[in-house]
Amino acid sequence: MNQFSFDSRLKNILIGFMVLGLVCLGITFFVDDELHTRFWTNYLHNSVFFTGIALMSLFIMAAFTTAWSGWHTLVKRIWEAYSLFLIPGLILMLVVIIGIWGHFHHLYHWADAEAVAADPILQGKSSFLNPGWYTFGTLIIVGLWILFAVRIRQLSVDEDANGTTDYDHHRKIRIWSAAFLPLAGFSSAAVIWQWIMSIDAHWYSTLYAWYTGASWFVAAMALTILTIIYLKSRGYLEKVNIEHLHDLGKYMFAFSIFWTYLWFSQYMLIWYANVGEETVYFLERRENYPVLFYGNLILNFVAPFFILMRNDTKRKYGTLVFTSIVVFFGHWWDFFQMIKPGARTTAMEALAHHAGEHGHEMIAHGEMGAHELPFALGYTIPGFLELGTMLGFLALFLFVAFDRLSKASLVPKNDPYLAESLQHHVEIHGEEGAH
């Protein structure tokens, strides 16, 4: 079957999960402290995570097209569909922007004019970290990504209808893809600094954007593998075989190691240099969030490294699905770890500040006093509300992706590389597929 039909049963399941996500967000809002820190961090966490997966899907596709890759042609419609989540992603981020202008949340220390006035470091950074740049940067940069995502998708679908299998039509996709790569490389860093790194407004790291990007990349690969296996179980994508999944598994393995390399490079240099303004980030996480800190490495390095090291684990559905779920959850955990501690410190300072003015009862309110506990659901590790929220966002992501997927053929029939993808054969000892 080349045409995916987004049937009502699947739609209802996804809508069900979206409702669950909304309910979880709603509950979070009401059990929260008065700044609604938990609600806003969860919202930002999931918005950033899934928008990033959409960006990385576009990036993967552009990189493969530019590199004359052929094997991925059979699965590229999935990445096209994922990349179109950038549009809802921008809407999700607009809510955060409105929150900054309306002072609905205290996610960002630099957005608090009073705090900036008393803080020379924040003043020094205020020409970049200010609501205007945050808004402008997000709108322009994500807007540009959307332009490329929509254009590449259009050209690809148009190739089915009006193109031929020669390169004339394909060349246009190549030009757009090649132009996207440097643009995505530089602009994603700026957006990552504003969206996530500026939560710890005093701190900065030059490796942070790469590390975050690698996290998105692995999550995108894991989700791709899961989606392909789901679609295959429904009888779609029958031409995608274990050879393609083997290659996707290799990407997941390789980029898990790449992520670890970046994580460690960032950690070790800061640990070794031992400069107070840099170590503050890791000290806070290691001492007060040990489960998050070490769990991150177990989920995202130890598990995929040892499971996917063997050849055959990348060629079996069971191990691939298991590792994809672990790694997808692991990188979601990683973003939780990036966002929560900094936002919590900012909120606690704001609450203490209020308490100084209005008495001491406010600081004890809610869960903000639970700083010392190694397990405080929703703060030092993700709680059930966080999981529910994630499932809701995931359902939204998949709803958009499946909807886009059903609008075009699953097989790009006029892609000049389709024949190469159909014959893809990587394993010398594998079953004979191609000949």
Partner: protein, 176 residues
Amino acid sequence: MSKENKDVLYGLYDDEEVLLKAVDQANAGHLEIMDVFSPFPVHGLDPKLGLSESRLHIAGFVFGAIGTLTAFLFMTWVFTRDWPIIFGGKPYWSVPAFIPITFELTVLFASIGMVVTFYTICGMAPGIWNPILDDRITDDKFCIAFDVTGSEEAEKEKLKSFFTASGASEVNTKTI
């Protein structure tokens, strides 16, 4: 390995697709192939020849693990027992500082161990001469070789007719 010379009858093919079909034909005719030579790895050839998957990577893992332990335990011993020195106010047992060296030694042990293992399996060492059937099997020819030491003339004719039928561009005999 036998020290005696072998008489080898071999055919050269121009294309790997032709070679794969020829191997199928040889298998169907129950001809006992001594070896197949190709300038690059040909996909799907190993199962046809009944070769099992190489276990070299298991050796690689074992050597790598030995490297990891050697580096890590040695540094631990040096910096906690033998000659403890404080570097930059860090504890004696500074795990993050050990990791780059541990990684390097893992790679070093795995790579050298695998090279030595591979050379041993293939019977290669400095000073050993490995006969080559035809120089062009390292360039653009694909070769199927049969051991015809002490074979009957009729047997050799049968093999020659197999080569002709399966599209070999050249058939030769060589004693190695």
